[in-house]
Symmetry: C2
Subunit: 243 residues, 2 copies
Amino acid sequence: MISTFSHEYRVKHNETDFWGRLTAPAFGDCMLDIAGLHAMEIGSGIDILQRQGLTWVISGMKLRFIDMPKLHGRFRMETHVSAFSRITTQRDFVAYDGDRKIAEASSEWLIINMETRRPVFVDEILPQLEEVCIPDGALPKYKHLRAFDGEVSIEMERKITYSDLDVNRHLYSMRYLQIALDTFDLDFFAKHRFTDIDLNFISEVLCGEVVTVIRRTNGDVHNIEMLRDGKAVFRSEFVTAEA
Amino acid sequence: MISTFSHEYRVKHNETDFWGRLTAPAFGDCMLDIAGLHAMEIGSGIDILQRQGLTWVISGMKLRFIDMPKLHGRFRMETHVSAFSRITTQRDFVAYDGDRKIAEASSEWLIINMETRRPVFVDEILPQLEEVCIPDGALPKYKHLRAFDGEVSIEMERKITYSDLDVNRHLYSMRYLQIALDTFDLDFFAKHRFTDIDLNFISEVLCGEVVTVIRRTNGDVHNIEMLRDGKAVFRSEFVTAEA
């Protein structure tokens, strides 16, 4: 079995923002894609799990961006499983332009029962993780973010619709990130770039539900949370630098 | 110069809906991607135009879906320029799974001056279109849709945000389509598939603007328009069949 899986990506028009650079959600799409390709290779793909009434869900991500590729640019992504416990699995990602590292990220996953929506024991379902896991040099895990306080910079409402859903019929993980980014205005994107992002996926959100998105900005640190009926379903922290 | 350009695509997780099939907007992303790749090849790419203060904008599309590929499925797309006049260029697309045609589409484009936002003469800017154009067997053009009447099935508001924009800093063409599709509920998608789509892109929409999206459904025909300050910026017609 292949422990480290590698794949090349090319940046498409719809994956860049108006600056012509790969966006953070589109980078995340590639992470989830390569995770799926590697999982198929090691017999832990979502299709195999779904046949047993199970599915993968993501609980958190930490992303560090060094230099985002431009439209039509190519980059190589590498991924491996770097840790697992009874309930969680960590998968790390590094992206390269030639020999130059341009981004890295870690992600934490659970396997849940599709009926009960409760986690199951990963090591019972996927004993092969022992064989493929490379524990040395695991990337740091995402920050567990607690309820934010401080002055609210912006608050907006967003209804979840069909195009926001993934194959699990809930809000797609990278759509949480996209909705969070939509609290910034164009002028902000013109002057800043993101260096570090921590994402906490707390609850599933379903089609038709309305969430409140609240951003608190304090210098270069931006905390964005998403609430449903006053309860947090998603928390995130973004660190920015001048573009 | 290559008259017919071909490229293979693989369906990623984020390009499918909850049924695990490639979505119409994601198919459109591939059309715009291959159009860009072919344009680069024949010296009519958006980067070359932008250096002259010009850019491509799309005025309409007609799509016909036979069988959408599934997650991780591969398909081949072919494109060529099929017609051009002083102001407009038509580009056609056919997608194949092996030898089997799975979708086809036509699109109409203008070149505009980025300052004045007015069209310029295509044949003066790109004389090479004469050489690459394959006029035989051009696909039918999109329907010009007029103001709709009849009972309104659903009406919703949508604010345009950062993630809706493309490199031209206006609402990305496939986001018009995605916003139109978001007027349907999950149950509808469970029971229907789209066979024919006509899209009329009437006006640019900018970040921060709010549009009203109105759908009128009459049997298997669905007319969806997008209004800003009461004036149409986009009209579309969708024909559906049982899934």
